[in-house]
Protein backbone atom coordinates (compact mmCIF):
# COMPACT_ATOMS: atom_id res chain seq x y z
CA UNK A 1 0.00 0.00 0.00
CA UNK A 2 1.38 3.40 -0.93
CA UNK A 3 1.53 6.10 1.73
CA UNK A 4 -0.76 8.27 -0.37
CA UNK A 5 -3.40 5.54 -0.20
CA UNK A 6 -3.20 5.47 3.57
CA UNK A 7 -3.52 9.25 3.70
CA UNK A 8 -6.45 9.11 1.35
CA UNK A 9 -8.20 6.49 3.45
CA UNK A 10 -7.56 8.52 6.57
CA UNK A 11 -9.13 11.49 4.86
CA UNK A 12 -12.22 9.46 3.93
CA UNK A 13 -12.51 8.08 7.47
CA UNK A 14 -12.20 11.52 9.02
CA UNK A 15 -14.36 13.46 6.60
CA UNK A 16 -16.64 10.82 5.06
CA UNK A 17 -19.60 11.54 7.32
CA UNK A 18 -19.41 15.25 6.55
CA UNK A 19 -19.31 14.51 2.83
CA UNK A 20 -22.34 12.23 3.09
CA UNK A 21 -24.22 15.01 4.88
CA UNK A 22 -23.27 17.44 2.15
CA UNK A 23 -24.31 14.92 -0.52
CA UNK A 24 -27.56 14.43 1.32
CA UNK A 25 -28.55 18.10 1.28
CA UNK A 26 -27.51 18.31 -2.38
CA UNK A 27 -29.43 15.24 -3.54
CA UNK A 28 -32.14 14.71 -0.93
CA UNK A 29 -31.70 10.95 -0.54
CA UNK A 30 -29.14 8.60 1.02
CA UNK A 31 -28.37 6.49 -2.08
CA UNK A 32 -27.62 9.47 -4.27
CA UNK A 33 -25.68 11.12 -1.44
CA UNK A 34 -23.37 8.11 -1.09
CA UNK A 35 -23.11 7.76 -4.85
CA UNK A 36 -22.17 11.39 -5.34
CA UNK A 37 -19.64 11.35 -2.50
CA UNK A 38 -18.01 8.13 -3.70
CA UNK A 39 -17.72 9.26 -7.30
CA UNK A 40 -16.12 12.50 -6.15
CA UNK A 41 -13.78 10.56 -3.83
CA UNK A 42 -12.67 8.32 -6.69
CA UNK A 43 -11.72 11.41 -8.62
CA UNK A 44 -9.93 12.77 -5.58
CA UNK A 45 -7.94 9.57 -5.12
CA UNK A 46 -6.84 9.67 -8.77
CA UNK A 47 -5.51 13.15 -8.20
CA UNK A 48 -4.54 12.73 -4.57
CA UNK A 49 -0.88 13.71 -4.66
CA UNK A 50 -1.56 16.78 -6.79
CA UNK A 51 -4.57 17.94 -4.78
CA UNK A 52 -3.13 17.50 -1.33
CA UNK A 53 0.00 19.39 -2.35
CA UNK A 54 -1.88 22.32 -3.84
CA UNK A 55 -5.40 22.59 -2.46
CA UNK A 56 -7.47 21.40 0.41
CA UNK A 57 -8.73 17.89 -0.43
CA UNK A 58 -12.01 18.71 1.26
CA UNK A 59 -12.61 21.82 -0.84
CA UNK A 60 -11.70 19.81 -3.94
CA UNK A 61 -14.12 17.00 -3.21
CA UNK A 62 -16.96 19.37 -2.29
CA UNK A 63 -16.50 21.37 -5.48
CA UNK A 64 -16.49 18.11 -7.46
CA UNK A 65 -19.70 16.99 -5.77
CA UNK A 66 -21.50 20.26 -6.52
CA UNK A 67 -20.42 20.18 -10.15
CA UNK A 68 -21.16 16.51 -10.63
CA UNK A 69 -24.57 16.92 -9.11
CA UNK A 70 -25.67 19.29 -11.83
CA UNK A 71 -23.95 17.54 -14.71
CA UNK A 72 -23.20 13.97 -15.59
CA UNK A 73 -23.29 11.83 -12.50
CA UNK A 74 -26.96 10.95 -12.63
CA UNK A 75 -26.67 9.65 -16.16
CA UNK A 76 -23.68 7.65 -15.07
CA UNK A 77 -25.48 6.22 -12.13
CA UNK A 78 -28.09 4.63 -14.35
CA UNK A 79 -25.37 2.59 -16.04
CA UNK A 80 -24.54 0.92 -12.78
CA UNK A 81 -26.05 -2.18 -11.29
CA UNK A 82 -28.90 -1.54 -8.93
CA UNK A 83 -27.48 -3.75 -6.20
CA UNK A 84 -24.83 -1.17 -5.51
CA UNK A 85 -26.49 0.35 -2.48
CA UNK A 86 -23.63 1.06 -0.08
CA UNK A 87 -23.69 -0.96 3.08
CA UNK A 88 -25.36 0.64 6.04
CA UNK A 89 -27.87 2.60 4.02
CA UNK A 90 -31.05 3.10 5.80
CA UNK A 91 -34.28 4.63 4.65
CA UNK A 92 -35.48 7.27 6.99
CA UNK A 93 -39.20 7.66 6.83
CA UNK A 94 -39.27 10.74 9.03
CA UNK A 95 -40.54 13.89 7.52
CA UNK A 96 -38.03 16.72 7.76
CA UNK A 97 -40.63 19.40 7.34
CA UNK A 98 -42.40 20.96 4.41
CA UNK A 99 -39.47 23.08 3.29
CA UNK A 100 -37.19 20.05 2.92
CA UNK A 101 -39.85 18.24 0.89
CA UNK A 102 -40.37 21.22 -1.36
CA UNK A 103 -36.64 21.41 -2.06
CA UNK A 104 -37.06 18.14 -3.94
CA UNK A 105 -39.25 19.90 -6.49
CA UNK A 106 -36.49 22.28 -7.56
CA UNK A 107 -34.34 21.74 -10.66
CA UNK A 108 -30.89 20.44 -9.70
CA UNK A 109 -29.04 23.61 -10.55
CA UNK A 110 -31.36 25.76 -8.44
CA UNK A 111 -31.12 23.39 -5.53
CA UNK A 112 -27.32 23.30 -5.76
CA UNK A 113 -27.14 27.09 -5.71
CA UNK A 114 -29.33 27.18 -2.59
CA UNK A 115 -27.22 24.53 -0.84
CA UNK A 116 -24.02 26.42 -1.57
CA UNK A 117 -25.60 29.66 -0.38
CA UNK A 118 -27.53 28.53 2.68
CA UNK A 119 -25.77 25.35 3.81
CA UNK A 120 -22.18 26.12 2.82
CA UNK A 121 -22.69 29.86 3.48
CA UNK A 122 -20.73 30.84 0.38
CA UNK A 123 -20.93 34.27 -1.23
CA UNK A 124 -22.38 34.38 -4.75
CA UNK A 125 -18.99 35.14 -6.25
CA UNK A 126 -17.59 31.85 -4.95
CA UNK A 127 -20.68 29.89 -5.97
CA UNK A 128 -20.23 31.26 -9.48
CA UNK A 129 -16.59 30.11 -9.52
CA UNK A 130 -17.43 26.64 -8.19
CA UNK A 131 -20.22 25.99 -10.67
CA UNK A 132 -18.54 27.76 -13.58
CA UNK A 133 -21.47 30.10 -14.16
CA UNK A 134 -21.80 33.87 -13.99
CA UNK A 135 -22.74 35.74 -10.86
CA UNK A 136 -25.88 36.90 -12.61
CA UNK A 137 -26.89 33.28 -13.19
CA UNK A 138 -26.28 32.45 -9.53
CA UNK A 139 -28.54 35.33 -8.61
CA UNK A 140 -31.31 34.43 -11.03
CA UNK A 141 -31.23 30.73 -10.11
CA UNK A 142 -31.41 31.59 -6.41
CA UNK A 143 -34.17 34.12 -7.02
CA UNK A 144 -36.31 31.59 -8.87
CA UNK A 145 -35.69 28.87 -6.30
CA UNK A 146 -36.54 31.16 -3.39
CA UNK A 147 -39.74 32.25 -5.16
CA UNK A 148 -40.77 28.61 -5.63
CA UNK A 149 -40.12 27.90 -1.96
CA UNK A 150 -41.82 31.14 -0.90
CA UNK A 151 -38.71 32.33 0.91
CA UNK A 152 -38.23 36.08 1.08
CA UNK A 153 -34.66 37.03 0.19
CA UNK A 154 -33.10 39.48 2.63
CA UNK A 155 -30.79 40.91 0.00
CA UNK A 156 -30.68 40.40 -3.73
CA UNK A 157 -27.06 39.34 -3.85
CA UNK A 158 -25.01 37.82 -1.11
CA UNK A 159 -21.54 39.24 -0.78
CA UNK A 160 -18.76 37.97 1.40
CA UNK A 161 -19.88 37.03 4.84
Amino acid sequence: MRPGDVEFEDFVRARGAALVRYGYVLTGNPEDAADLAQEALLKLSDNWSRVRNKDSPEAYVRTTMARQHISWWRRRRREQPTDDVPEGIHHDTHSFGELWKELATLPRKQRTVLVLRYYEDLPDEEIAAILGISRGTVRSQAFRALATLRVRPAVLERGRA
Binding site: D5, A18, S56, P86, G88, F96, Y118, R152, A154
Partner: protein, 410 residues
Protein backbone atom coordinates in the same frame (compact mmCIF):
# COMPACT_ATOMS: atom_id res chain seq x y z
CA UNK B 1 -43.49 33.94 3.37
CA UNK B 2 -40.55 32.11 4.92
CA UNK B 3 -37.16 33.51 5.86
CA UNK B 4 -33.69 32.59 4.68
CA UNK B 5 -32.91 31.45 8.21
CA UNK B 6 -35.70 28.89 8.00
CA UNK B 7 -34.18 27.59 4.78
CA UNK B 8 -30.70 27.30 6.39
CA UNK B 9 -32.30 25.58 9.34
CA UNK B 10 -34.17 23.07 7.16
CA UNK B 11 -30.96 22.17 5.30
CA UNK B 12 -29.01 21.72 8.52
CA UNK B 13 -31.72 19.68 10.21
CA UNK B 14 -31.81 17.42 7.18
CA UNK B 15 -28.02 17.08 7.18
CA UNK B 16 -28.16 15.97 10.79
CA UNK B 17 -30.49 13.17 9.77
CA UNK B 18 -28.27 12.00 6.91
CA UNK B 19 -27.26 8.35 7.26
CA UNK B 20 -23.79 7.53 8.56
CA UNK B 21 -22.07 5.33 6.00
CA UNK B 22 -18.65 3.82 5.57
CA UNK B 23 -17.74 5.27 2.20
CA UNK B 24 -14.57 3.20 1.99
CA UNK B 25 -16.58 -0.01 1.77
CA UNK B 26 -18.26 0.91 -1.50
CA UNK B 27 -15.24 2.73 -2.88
CA UNK B 28 -13.19 -0.38 -3.59
CA UNK B 29 -16.09 -2.04 -5.40
CA UNK B 30 -16.80 1.06 -7.37
CA UNK B 31 -13.17 1.44 -8.42
CA UNK B 32 -12.89 -2.14 -9.56
CA UNK B 33 -16.02 -1.75 -11.62
CA UNK B 34 -14.76 1.48 -13.15
CA UNK B 35 -11.40 -0.07 -13.92
CA UNK B 36 -13.16 -2.95 -15.62
CA UNK B 37 -15.36 -0.60 -17.61
CA UNK B 38 -12.34 1.42 -18.68
CA UNK B 39 -10.47 -1.71 -19.66
CA UNK B 40 -13.43 -2.73 -21.80
CA UNK B 41 -13.58 0.70 -23.40
CA UNK B 42 -9.86 0.52 -23.93
CA UNK B 43 -10.08 -2.91 -25.52
CA UNK B 44 -12.78 -1.61 -27.84
CA UNK B 45 -10.66 1.41 -28.69
CA UNK B 46 -7.68 -0.80 -29.42
CA UNK B 47 -9.70 -2.68 -32.03
CA UNK B 48 -10.15 0.48 -34.05
CA UNK B 49 -6.50 1.33 -33.59
CA UNK B 50 -6.66 4.11 -31.04
CA UNK B 51 -3.67 4.03 -28.70
CA UNK B 52 -2.10 6.18 -26.04
CA UNK B 53 -4.67 6.18 -23.28
CA UNK B 54 -3.26 3.23 -21.45
CA UNK B 55 -2.27 5.08 -18.30
CA UNK B 56 -5.91 5.57 -17.41
CA UNK B 57 -6.26 2.00 -16.28
CA UNK B 58 -3.12 2.03 -14.19
CA UNK B 59 -4.16 5.30 -12.63
CA UNK B 60 -7.48 3.87 -11.60
CA UNK B 61 -6.04 0.91 -9.77
CA UNK B 62 -6.69 1.77 -6.19
CA UNK B 63 -9.00 -0.13 -3.95
CA UNK B 64 -9.66 0.26 -0.30
CA UNK B 65 -9.42 -3.42 0.47
CA UNK B 66 -6.67 -4.43 -1.90
CA UNK B 67 -4.14 -1.64 -1.68
CA UNK B 68 -1.27 -4.07 -2.08
CA UNK B 69 -2.32 -5.18 -5.53
CA UNK B 70 -3.06 -1.59 -6.43
CA UNK B 71 0.47 -0.56 -5.57
CA UNK B 72 1.75 -3.23 -7.90
CA UNK B 73 -0.25 -2.02 -10.87
CA UNK B 74 -0.09 1.71 -10.30
CA UNK B 75 3.54 1.99 -11.29
CA UNK B 76 3.09 0.23 -14.62
CA UNK B 77 2.37 2.39 -17.62
CA UNK B 78 0.58 -0.24 -19.67
CA UNK B 79 -2.59 -1.98 -18.60
CA UNK B 80 -2.68 -5.68 -18.00
CA UNK B 81 -6.17 -6.50 -19.21
CA UNK B 82 -6.07 -10.02 -17.84
CA UNK B 83 -5.58 -8.52 -14.39
CA UNK B 84 -7.78 -5.49 -14.45
CA UNK B 85 -10.70 -7.31 -16.07
CA UNK B 86 -10.78 -10.09 -13.53
CA UNK B 87 -13.05 -9.16 -10.69
CA UNK B 88 -12.80 -11.41 -7.72
CA UNK B 89 -15.62 -10.94 -5.27
CA UNK B 90 -14.54 -9.76 -1.86
CA UNK B 91 -14.24 -12.90 0.23
CA UNK B 92 -16.80 -13.14 3.00
CA UNK B 93 -14.42 -13.60 5.86
CA UNK B 94 -15.81 -14.78 9.14
CA UNK B 95 -14.66 -12.26 11.69
CA UNK B 96 -12.74 -13.92 14.45
CA UNK B 97 -11.72 -12.69 17.84
CA UNK B 98 -13.25 -12.06 21.23
CA UNK B 99 -16.02 -9.44 21.47
CA UNK B 100 -14.35 -6.23 22.59
CA UNK B 101 -16.85 -5.74 25.44
CA UNK B 102 -15.72 -9.06 26.88
CA UNK B 103 -12.00 -8.58 26.33
CA UNK B 104 -11.69 -4.93 27.40
CA UNK B 105 -14.95 -4.01 29.22
CA UNK B 106 -13.35 -1.01 30.91
CA UNK B 107 -12.47 0.54 27.53
CA UNK B 108 -15.95 0.38 26.01
CA UNK B 109 -18.67 2.89 26.87
CA UNK B 110 -21.44 4.98 25.39
CA UNK B 111 -21.74 8.76 25.20
CA UNK B 112 -24.03 11.37 23.66
CA UNK B 113 -23.42 12.09 19.96
CA UNK B 114 -24.18 15.79 20.40
CA UNK B 115 -23.05 18.59 22.70
CA UNK B 116 -25.16 21.06 24.70
CA UNK B 117 -25.60 23.24 21.60
CA UNK B 118 -26.92 20.26 19.65
CA UNK B 119 -23.68 20.10 17.61
CA UNK B 120 -22.45 16.71 16.43
CA UNK B 121 -19.40 15.37 18.27
CA UNK B 122 -16.45 14.10 16.30
CA UNK B 123 -14.13 12.14 18.59
CA UNK B 124 -10.44 13.05 18.30
CA UNK B 125 -8.54 10.71 20.63
CA UNK B 126 -8.43 9.27 24.16
CA UNK B 127 -6.59 11.58 26.57
CA UNK B 128 -6.35 8.97 29.35
CA UNK B 129 -8.36 6.00 30.58
CA UNK B 130 -11.55 8.02 31.14
CA UNK B 131 -11.36 11.22 29.10
CA UNK B 132 -12.03 11.63 25.39
CA UNK B 133 -11.08 14.69 23.36
CA UNK B 134 -13.87 15.79 21.01
CA UNK B 135 -14.53 18.33 18.29
CA UNK B 136 -18.10 19.64 18.28
CA UNK B 137 -19.39 20.66 14.89
CA UNK B 138 -22.20 23.06 14.18
CA UNK B 139 -24.15 21.39 11.35
CA UNK B 140 -22.16 22.57 8.39
CA UNK B 141 -19.22 20.22 9.05
CA UNK B 142 -17.01 22.83 10.65
CA UNK B 143 -15.38 22.24 14.01
CA UNK B 144 -16.73 24.90 16.38
CA UNK B 145 -15.54 23.82 19.82
CA UNK B 146 -13.08 21.48 21.45
CA UNK B 147 -14.59 19.55 24.35
CA UNK B 148 -13.65 16.76 26.76
CA UNK B 149 -16.03 13.97 27.74
CA UNK B 150 -15.35 12.08 30.95
CA UNK B 151 -16.67 8.51 30.83
CA UNK B 152 -16.42 8.24 34.61
CA UNK B 153 -18.73 11.16 35.40
CA UNK B 154 -20.69 11.03 32.14
CA UNK B 155 -20.17 14.77 31.74
CA UNK B 156 -18.50 16.92 29.14
CA UNK B 157 -16.84 20.32 29.37
CA UNK B 158 -15.83 22.91 26.80
CA UNK B 159 -12.08 23.39 26.39
CA UNK B 160 -12.19 26.22 23.89
CA UNK B 161 -14.00 27.67 20.91
CA UNK B 162 -12.30 27.21 17.54
CA UNK B 163 -11.87 30.67 16.04
CA UNK B 164 -12.11 31.24 12.32
CA UNK B 165 -9.73 33.77 10.81
CA UNK B 166 -11.38 36.45 8.71
CA UNK B 167 -10.43 36.62 5.06
CA UNK B 168 -9.76 32.90 4.74
CA UNK B 169 -12.03 30.77 2.60
CA UNK B 170 -12.81 27.05 2.68
CA UNK B 171 -11.69 26.91 6.28
CA UNK B 172 -11.50 23.38 7.66
CA UNK B 173 -9.95 22.16 10.86
CA UNK B 174 -8.11 19.06 9.70
CA UNK B 175 -6.21 17.52 12.56
CA UNK B 176 -5.76 17.78 16.30
CA UNK B 177 -3.22 16.55 18.86
CA UNK B 178 -2.87 16.58 22.64
CA UNK B 179 -0.22 15.76 25.24
CA UNK B 180 -2.72 15.60 28.10
CA UNK B 181 -2.07 19.22 29.12
CA UNK B 182 -2.38 21.13 25.87
CA UNK B 183 -4.38 20.77 22.71
CA UNK B 184 -3.18 21.93 19.28
CA UNK B 185 -4.88 21.83 15.92
CA UNK B 186 -4.22 22.59 12.30
CA UNK B 187 -6.75 24.37 10.09
CA UNK B 188 -6.29 24.46 6.34
CA UNK B 189 -7.87 27.25 4.33
CA UNK B 190 -7.43 29.06 1.08
CA UNK B 191 -6.53 32.68 0.47
CA UNK B 192 -6.46 34.09 -3.05
CA UNK B 193 -6.18 30.58 -4.45
CA UNK B 194 -3.23 29.47 -2.32
CA UNK B 195 -3.22 27.19 0.71
CA UNK B 196 -2.77 28.58 4.19
CA UNK B 197 -2.24 26.42 7.29
CA UNK B 198 -2.88 27.76 10.78
CA UNK B 199 -1.62 26.01 13.92
CA UNK B 200 -3.56 26.83 17.08
CA UNK B 201 -3.05 26.11 20.75
CA UNK B 202 -5.24 26.04 23.86
CA UNK B 203 -4.68 24.71 27.39
CA UNK B 204 -6.63 21.48 27.88
CA UNK B 205 -7.87 22.79 31.25
CA UNK B 206 -9.78 25.43 29.29
CA UNK B 207 -9.06 28.89 27.92
CA UNK B 208 -8.97 31.04 24.84
CA UNK B 209 -7.34 29.58 21.73
CA UNK B 210 -4.20 31.31 20.50
CA UNK B 211 -2.86 31.27 16.96
CA UNK B 212 0.67 29.89 17.21
CA UNK B 213 1.75 30.20 13.59
CA UNK B 214 0.42 30.74 10.06
CA UNK B 215 2.14 28.81 7.27
CA UNK B 216 2.00 29.48 3.54
CA UNK B 217 3.56 28.11 0.36
CA UNK B 218 5.28 24.72 0.64
CA UNK B 219 5.34 25.17 4.40
CA UNK B 220 1.54 24.89 4.46
CA UNK B 221 1.77 21.22 3.45
CA UNK B 222 1.43 20.11 7.08
CA UNK B 223 1.17 16.30 7.28
CA UNK B 224 1.28 15.73 11.03
CA UNK B 225 1.20 17.79 14.22
CA UNK B 226 2.06 17.22 17.85
CA UNK B 227 2.77 19.05 21.08
CA UNK B 228 5.86 18.91 23.29
CA UNK B 229 4.68 20.75 26.41
CA UNK B 230 5.60 24.26 25.36
CA UNK B 231 5.53 24.19 21.56
CA UNK B 232 3.37 23.05 18.71
CA UNK B 233 5.36 20.61 16.58
CA UNK B 234 4.69 19.64 12.98
CA UNK B 235 6.24 18.02 9.94
CA UNK B 236 5.67 18.77 6.27
CA UNK B 237 5.27 16.39 3.36
CA UNK B 238 8.74 17.18 2.09
CA UNK B 239 10.14 16.06 5.43
CA UNK B 240 11.62 17.97 8.35
CA UNK B 241 10.10 18.60 11.76
CA UNK B 242 9.47 22.12 13.03
CA UNK B 243 8.35 23.67 16.26
CA UNK B 244 7.04 26.98 17.50
CA UNK B 245 6.44 28.00 21.13
CA UNK B 246 2.69 28.45 21.81
CA UNK B 247 2.67 32.16 22.44
CA UNK B 248 5.96 33.76 21.46
CA UNK B 249 9.21 33.05 19.69
CA UNK B 250 9.87 32.11 16.10
CA UNK B 251 9.34 28.76 14.36
CA UNK B 252 12.50 26.68 14.20
CA UNK B 253 13.56 23.39 12.74
CA UNK B 254 14.04 20.57 15.23
CA UNK B 255 17.75 19.55 15.14
CA UNK B 256 18.57 16.38 13.19
CA UNK B 257 15.05 16.17 11.77
CA UNK B 258 16.03 16.44 8.09
CA UNK B 259 13.87 14.16 5.98
CA UNK B 260 11.90 12.99 9.01
CA UNK B 261 8.14 12.75 9.35
CA UNK B 262 6.39 13.11 12.68
CA UNK B 263 4.50 10.00 13.82
CA UNK B 264 3.59 10.92 17.39
CA UNK B 265 5.78 13.36 19.32
CA UNK B 266 8.63 12.73 20.13
CA UNK B 267 8.74 9.91 17.61
CA UNK B 268 9.50 10.43 13.93
CA UNK B 269 10.49 8.18 11.06
CA UNK B 270 11.91 8.47 7.56
CA UNK B 271 9.00 6.82 5.72
CA UNK B 272 7.75 9.58 3.49
CA UNK B 273 4.18 10.53 2.80
CA UNK B 274 5.30 12.31 -0.37
CA UNK B 275 4.84 10.27 -3.54
CA UNK B 276 8.01 11.52 -5.23
CA UNK B 277 10.21 10.81 -2.25
CA UNK B 278 8.45 7.53 -1.83
CA UNK B 279 9.43 6.50 -5.36
CA UNK B 280 12.99 7.64 -4.71
CA UNK B 281 13.63 6.14 -1.30
CA UNK B 282 11.44 3.06 -1.38
CA UNK B 283 8.89 1.52 0.78
CA UNK B 284 10.39 0.87 4.18
CA UNK B 285 10.98 2.99 7.22
CA UNK B 286 14.64 2.45 8.03
CA UNK B 287 14.84 4.15 11.43
CA UNK B 288 12.80 5.44 14.32
CA UNK B 289 14.02 8.67 15.91
CA UNK B 290 13.28 10.13 19.34
CA UNK B 291 13.45 13.86 18.61
CA UNK B 292 13.41 14.77 22.31
CA UNK B 293 16.72 13.06 23.10
CA UNK B 294 18.14 12.44 19.62
CA UNK B 295 18.19 8.64 19.88
CA UNK B 296 18.16 6.93 16.49
CA UNK B 297 17.22 3.25 16.25
CA UNK B 298 17.70 1.32 13.02
CA UNK B 299 14.90 -0.97 11.91
CA UNK B 300 15.85 -4.57 11.14
CA UNK B 301 14.31 -5.24 7.74
CA UNK B 302 14.16 -8.81 6.51
CA UNK B 303 14.28 -9.93 2.89
CA UNK B 304 11.18 -9.18 0.87
CA UNK B 305 9.73 -6.85 3.47
CA UNK B 306 7.85 -3.83 2.16
CA UNK B 307 5.87 -0.89 3.55
CA UNK B 308 7.54 -1.21 6.94
CA UNK B 309 6.19 1.34 9.45
CA UNK B 310 7.48 1.41 13.01
CA UNK B 311 6.86 3.04 16.34
CA UNK B 312 9.46 2.81 19.13
CA UNK B 313 8.76 -0.91 19.66
CA UNK B 314 6.51 -2.41 16.98
CA UNK B 315 6.62 -2.48 13.19
CA UNK B 316 4.06 -3.51 10.62
CA UNK B 317 5.06 -4.40 7.08
CA UNK B 318 4.15 -6.88 4.41
CA UNK B 319 5.70 -9.75 2.55
CA UNK B 320 3.75 -10.24 -0.64
CA UNK B 321 0.14 -9.91 0.37
CA UNK B 322 0.67 -11.04 3.96
CA UNK B 323 0.85 -8.45 6.72
CA UNK B 324 3.78 -9.03 9.04
CA UNK B 325 4.37 -7.54 12.46
CA UNK B 326 7.72 -7.55 14.26
CA UNK B 327 9.65 -5.53 16.78
CA UNK B 328 12.08 -2.85 15.57
CA UNK B 329 14.96 -5.23 16.34
CA UNK B 330 13.42 -7.94 14.12
CA UNK B 331 12.17 -10.22 16.90
CA UNK B 332 8.62 -11.33 17.59
CA UNK B 333 7.61 -11.58 13.95
CA UNK B 334 4.14 -12.82 13.19
CA UNK B 335 1.84 -12.99 10.19
CA UNK B 336 -1.54 -11.24 10.22
CA UNK B 337 -4.38 -11.13 7.71
CA UNK B 338 -4.22 -8.03 5.53
CA UNK B 339 -6.30 -4.98 6.20
CA UNK B 340 -4.57 -3.73 9.33
CA UNK B 341 -3.47 -0.10 9.49
CA UNK B 342 0.13 1.04 9.29
CA UNK B 343 1.43 2.73 12.44
CA UNK B 344 0.31 0.98 15.61
CA UNK B 345 -2.00 2.92 17.96
CA UNK B 346 -0.07 3.61 21.21
CA UNK B 347 2.69 1.46 19.66
CA UNK B 348 0.52 -1.49 20.65
CA UNK B 349 -2.74 -1.90 18.70
CA UNK B 350 -3.42 -2.45 15.01
CA UNK B 351 -6.88 -1.75 13.74
CA UNK B 352 -8.73 -3.33 10.82
CA UNK B 353 -12.29 -2.60 9.72
CA UNK B 354 -13.87 -4.72 12.45
CA UNK B 355 -11.09 -5.93 14.73
CA UNK B 356 -8.30 -4.60 16.93
CA UNK B 357 -5.13 -6.65 17.34
CA UNK B 358 -3.09 -6.27 20.54
CA UNK B 359 0.59 -6.65 19.63
CA UNK B 360 1.62 -7.04 23.27
CA UNK B 361 -0.69 -9.93 24.09
CA UNK B 362 -1.50 -11.36 20.65
CA UNK B 363 -5.20 -11.01 21.37
CA UNK B 364 -7.75 -10.09 18.74
CA UNK B 365 -10.80 -8.06 19.75
CA UNK B 366 -13.90 -8.09 17.58
CA UNK B 367 -15.83 -4.84 17.23
CA UNK B 368 -19.62 -4.95 17.05
CA UNK B 369 -21.17 -2.16 15.01
CA UNK B 370 -24.87 -1.86 15.90
CA UNK B 371 -25.18 1.28 13.78
CA UNK B 372 -23.62 -0.45 10.77
CA UNK B 373 -20.49 1.71 10.75
CA UNK B 374 -17.39 2.51 12.74
CA UNK B 375 -14.82 5.22 12.47
CA UNK B 376 -11.63 6.34 14.17
CA UNK B 377 -10.82 9.62 15.89
CA UNK B 378 -9.25 12.44 13.88
CA UNK B 379 -6.06 13.02 15.86
CA UNK B 380 -2.79 13.48 14.02
CA UNK B 381 -1.18 10.49 15.74
CA UNK B 382 -3.00 7.14 15.35
CA UNK B 383 -6.20 7.77 17.31
CA UNK B 384 -6.90 5.81 20.49
CA UNK B 385 -10.62 6.13 19.80
CA UNK B 386 -12.84 3.94 17.67
CA UNK B 387 -16.51 4.77 17.65
CA UNK B 388 -19.81 4.30 15.89
CA UNK B 389 -23.54 4.88 16.25
CA UNK B 390 -25.46 2.74 18.74
CA UNK B 391 -28.44 2.59 16.38
CA UNK B 392 -29.02 2.63 12.66
CA UNK B 393 -30.10 5.88 11.10
CA UNK B 394 -30.36 8.92 13.33
CA UNK B 395 -27.49 8.89 15.80
CA UNK B 396 -28.17 10.03 19.36
CA UNK B 397 -25.44 8.07 21.07
CA UNK B 398 -22.04 6.68 20.20
CA UNK B 399 -20.37 3.53 21.39
CA UNK B 400 -16.73 4.39 22.05
CA UNK B 401 -13.70 2.15 22.37
CA UNK B 402 -10.94 4.04 24.16
CA UNK B 403 -7.71 2.07 23.71
CA UNK B 404 -6.03 4.32 26.28
CA UNK B 405 -8.22 2.53 28.86
CA UNK B 406 -6.91 -0.96 28.10
CA UNK B 407 -4.60 -1.99 30.97
CA UNK B 408 -0.99 -2.91 30.04
CA UNK B 409 -1.26 -6.64 30.75
CA UNK B 410 -4.65 -7.24 29.14
Amino acid sequence: MRTEDELSGALRDAADRAPELDLLVGLGKRRRRRTRRRAQLLAAAAVVGVVGTSTVVAQGAFSSGGGEEAAATSTTTRPKPEKTMTVTPRPQTQTKGTPVGKLWPQALFQMPAKNADGWRYRPITGINATEVLLAAEPSADKAGKIEVYDAKTGKSRVVTAIPRTRGLKQYFTQTVSTDGTNVVWCSIASKDGTTVAELWWAPLSGGKAKLAVTLTGGGAAVEAIGVDGESVVWSTRKGGVYRKPFTNGAPNRVPKSDGLHLISWPWAGDASTDDEEFEKFGYNQSKIVNLADGTVTKVVIKDGMKDMRCGPVWCRGRQGTTSVVQRVDGTGDKKLPKGFGMYAILDRFLRSADTVYDLNTGRLARIETPGGWSSNGISSEPSRILYGGTTKGKVDRYWVLNLAAVPPAQ
